[in-house]
């Protein structure tokens, strides 16, 4: 679960120097490969895109788009279509129940996918069941709803690649459990 959380957090954070470093060093590619292998999936190859293109794609997909935002990056919103709604209240309660709280400097909603990914990663070792509950209760429904949209709209291929892998991994996990 930790890799799922880390990759989610890295992917859905607004792209900047850190992501550029991860891509140039190959560490994100390596992380994807390890995650894929753990679940006997074919490791995907991350497309090479300059940071400026990733920033444009991220903004278009997740932040602001004159043609309508294809994939609002809010896990609770994907569940009940309400910003600050019941699903988000439940997520905040879940964080709180597991000793997590948004940091003061965090300028987004607590169900943003990068925050959710961080929560999954943070909980993965001390409380694997809680991490799993977040991954299956919040991340997987979001991916199921938006992965096709992202595949269609992502001009870089980066977000489509990562989202497809994450969705396949969670489905494989689910299958393994059942």
């Amino acid at each position: 679960m930790e890799w799922i959380g880390l990759i989610t957090a890295a992917t859905f954070r607004s792209p900047g120097k850190a992501l550029e470093r991860d891509l140039q060093s190959g560490s994100l590619q390596s992380a994807l490969e390890q995650l894929a292998k753990q679940h006997e999936l074919t490791p995907p190859r991350l497309p090479r895109a300059p940071l400026s293109e990733l920033q444009a794609a991220y903004t278009r997909l997740f932040a602001a788009n004159p043609a309508g935002l294809p994939a609002p990056p809010y896990a609770a919103y994907a569940l009940d279509d309400q910003l600050m709604g019941k699903a988000q209240e439940a997520l905040e309660a879940f964080y709180s129940e597991h000793g997590l709280a948004p940091r003061d400097g965090w300028r987004d909603l607590p169900d943003h996918l990068s925050a959710l990914g961080e929560a999954i990663a943070l909980l993965a070792n001390p409380n694997p069941e809680a991490a799993r509950a977040l991954a299956f209760g919040y991340l997987k429904p979001w991916l199921e709803r938006y992965v096709d949209v992202i595949a269609k709209e992502d001009t870089t291929g980066f977000y489509a690649t990562v989202c497809t892998l994450l969705k396949n991994v969670l489905e494989a996990e689910d299958e393994a459990q059942s």
Binding site: A9, T11, A64, L69, E89, S96, A115, A121
Partner: protein, 769 residues
């Protein structure tokens, strides 16, 4: 490469910093425990004022669990009296609108304006980017080369404070030249006083009301509507003059379906009857006015029979109404209305409205107009700005000579018309032509450029040629996504604004304060203005460290404090509503050159303008076309609220009103979708047809604000037709600078497809609202 997860977390993009362990895990709730209703827990009430229209109702915001749950009216507030309209109550849906702008955006290098290609940026980068380019423009062209447009309560920072500090006279609001400019200019040069944002009609004391093209009941200005209803309950008679059987007309004793564009002829004939039949208030005229003799001579020719031919209202009806209003005087009133830019002779029409009221002896008298007084409030003691703000406002200054400090250029629209407030539509041309000097940059705050300024293609062309275009807004409206830099402002429920002083029967001050913290990385306007000002080298005007210090300083200067205002929300002062109140203090309320009500305006004559109103026919309607009229929906404000779930469920699209017989003659059916095309070929729609007897056969009608093109506003997009898009022509009122918009002509084109939108109710249910 084998990765260590800890190391990846520490060093990589995965280290988001959104969450942290607090060391305290809260106990699990028992799964069987019933969820608590928000109102059963701790509920905080925050006093503020509404922004969902511009009536500025005092609101009481209910906050529980860090979320705004409900918005009520402030009981002690004179603008709301504890009640709110649907827009006020629906503010929660705007706050939690997922389509909101969330963080600053910078247009991607190499993309064009209108492509909508952006990257996220930090506030520091975005503000530095803007400041660098603004200073570059100033260096090359001068400070006047930056124009500032604004709409809404927060626009104070962007059309008054910053432009005046920066040194640009080119600051403008659609609320002036696309709305109230004629009535304000006319009022200043007749009474020497403004009308103001809260029209000072003494509704509940009046016994006879004549509404001319007035939107009351359709613009839902809260207490105005309360008072209007009360007046009718108390037995006031109502006459409505309108080509359309409006909501107000449905309550009226008489509906006069006037031929569009001829209202001034009707007003002049009423003046004629009052004078010729000796029905006017002779004592009042003698005591308070100048120019009656000239008016009497002037009105000789304006017989009801003359007016009948022009207005299509029978002469006998004209006479009957004049006699009825005279019988009720001084408790008879012709309210000024609000949106008064109609045909191009608008200041003269408004002058006629005021002259008629004056003949009834009602100005400053119970049952007529009360004398609204602004509250006592001091400015923040910053050094004097190099320029006076020129944008004006609902009650802004509107005429007279201008003194220009040395080293500064006059407004780019100066000399095009008489008034001294800017006309927003006249600042577009210098962006295109560079005449009389270039405007190379634009800061647009909260103003919907493509839904307010006529001739949208011209506006788009002008935007494309600018060196810098900055948009500050809450939602990604179409024009916003043309900007070089987009700055996301937080909503009115998340911010402070400057104090607002309401001129009223009982003057009062309202506080806007945040009910909750701003969502995402949005910021309040005051903060954006201050940070930009500091980067532009305007530190001397921003010596206050934050808005609380600024507000508290202003309030302490009048013996109050921010703490008191936060607790009360509204600070009410004593008014001086009637002439007798002024006379008791030996004061003169009329700030005209003659210090009297000017029936005849010598100032106008000196400037080559008609000193008395004269009727000029409107532009004729071409054969095969209809005059396009437009108005308001009671649950929407302009083009600002069409992405609000709650309001869109109540009114999801506009319809084109067509006279039933006319519709049948041209073969359209009630409920079918059509295109509307104007006489320059601009096409709008699809829009649904409403066949009705409630409109004349020479015009069609649309509610303003629909027909959004930005798909970034998912609810608003593509619903209905935009009247503004069809308004490619306007006639400039040579006195006020108003853009007269009822000079556009349209035809109905059959065969438009029915839009494939989900029903709002269905969307709302899916969203479990």
């Amino acid at each position: 490469m084998k990765l260590n997860r800890r190391r990846f977390l520490t060093l990589s993009a995965a280290s988001v910093g959104a969450l942290a362990f607090t060391g305290e895990a809260r106990a699990f709730r028992a799964p069987w425990a019933a969820p608590q209703k928000w109102y059963e827990g701790e509920v905080k009430t925050v006093f503020s004022y509404c922004e969902n229209c511009f009536w500025k109702c005092g609101i009481a915001v209910k906050v529980a669990g860090g979320r705004v749950r409900k918005i009520d009216g402030q009981p002690a507030n004179p603008k709301s009296r504890g009640r709110l309209c649907p827009r006020g109550q629906a503010g929660v849906a705007q706050l939690y609108d997922p389509d909101r702008l969330k963080r600053p955006l910078i247009r991607i290098d190499g993309s064009s304006r209108g492509d909508g290609k952006y990257r996220e940026a930090s506030w520091e980068e975005a503000l530095d980017y803007i400041a660098e380019r603004m200073l570059g423009i100033k260096e090359k062209y001068g400070p006047e080369a930056i124009a500032w447009f604004g709409h809404g309560s927060g626009d104070k920072w962007f059309v008054e404070y910053l432009p005046a500090a920066w040194g640009s006279p080119n600051a403008a609001k659609p609320a002036v030249s696309i709305c109230t400019a004629p009535r304000e200019t006319a009022s200043q040069w007749t009474f020497g006083r403004p009308i103001g944002g809260h029209e000072p009609v003494d509704w509940t004391e009046t016994r006879y009301i004549v509404l001319i093209g007035h939107h009351i009941g359709e613009d839902t200005h809260n207490t105005q509507l309360q008072d209007f209803s009360e007046a009718l309950r108390l037995g006031a008679k109502l006459v409505v003059v309108d080509p359309r059987f409006s909501t107000a007309a449905s309550k009226a004793n008489r509906w006069l379906p006037i031929k569009p564009g001829t209202d001034l002829a009707l007003l002049l004939s009423w003046i004629h009857v009052l004078i010729k039949e000796n029905l006017f208030d002779r004592e009042y005229i003698k005591k308070y006015t100048v120019g009656f003799e000239e008016l009497a001579v002037h009105s000789n020719k304006h017989t009801p029979e003359w007016a009948e031919k022009i207005t299509e209202i029978p002469a006998e009806t004209i006479r009957a109404v004049a006699r009825e209003m005279a019988a009720a005087r001084p408790r008879a009133v012709i309210p000024p209305g609000r949106h008064t830019v109609w045909y191009g002779d608008d200041t003269q029409r408004m002058r006629a409205v005021y002259i008629l009221n004056t003949l009834l002896g009602n100005y400053g008298v119970p049952g007529g107009f009360y004398l609204a007084k602004p509250p006592y409030l001091e400015k923040y003691p910053h050094p004097p700005f190099p320029l006076e703000p020129a944008a004006g406002g609902c009650s802004g200054s509107s005429g007279g000579e201008e003194e220009l400090p040395e080293g500064f250029k006059p407004r780019a629209d100066k000399d095009k018309f008489f008034a001294k407030t800017t006309a927003i539509q006249e600042l577009i041309e210098p962006m295109l032509t560079g005449e009389p000097y270039p405007i190379r940059g634009l800061v647009a705050y909260g103003v919907n450029l493509f839904h307010s300024i006529p001739n949208v293609p011209r506006t788009k062309k002008a935007l494309k040629g600018l060196d810098l275009y900055v948009a500050i807004d809450v939602l990604p409206q179409e024009h916003v996504m043309w900007a070089d830099v987009v700055l996301p402002e937080c909503t009115y429920l998340e911010r402070y604004d400057d104090l607002v002083g309401i001129a009223h029967k009982t003057p009062f001050i309202e506080l806007r304060q945040p009910a909750v913290e701003p969502l995402w990385d949005s910021k309040p306007g005051w903060w954006i203005a201050r940070e930009l000002g500091l980067r532009l080298g305007l530190e001397e005007f921003f010596q206050w460290k934050d808005i609380e210090e600024y507000l508290n300083t202003r309030l302490e200067l009048i013996g109050s404090s921010l703490a008191e205002m936060k607790e009360k929300g509204t600070l009410i002062q004593r008014g001086r509503p009637y002439l007798k109140d002024w006379e008791r203090r030996r004061r003169n309320p009329f700030r005209t050159p003659s210090r009297k009500i000017e029936l005849y305006s010598k100032t106008f004559a000196d400037h080559g303008l008609d000193p008395l109103p004269e009727f000029t026919p409107p532009m004729p309607v071409p054969a095969g076309f209809y005059r396009l009229l437009y108005g308001r929906s009671p649950v929407h404000s302009f083009a600002k609220t069409q992405n609000n779930w709650i309001l869109m469920e109540l009114n999801p699209e506009n319809e084109v009103w067509i006279n039933r017989h006319e519709g049948e003659a041209i073969g359209v059916q009630h409920g079918e979708y059509v295109w509307i095309e104007n006489d320059t070929g601009v096409r709008e729609g699809p829009v649904r047809v409403r066949l009705t007897e409630r409109i004349r056969n020479d015009c069609v009608y649309l509610v303003h604000g629909f027909g959004h093109k930005s798909r970034g506003e998912r609810l608003a997009s593509g619903r209905g037709a935009s009247d503004n898009a069809l308004q490619t022509r306007y006639v400039l009122d040579p006195i006020s600078g108003g853009a007269a918009l009822r000079n556009n002509f349209v035809k109905i084109i059959k065969g438009a497809p029915r839009p494939k939108h989900k029903h709002i109710g269905q969307l709302a249910r899916e969203r479990r609202l």
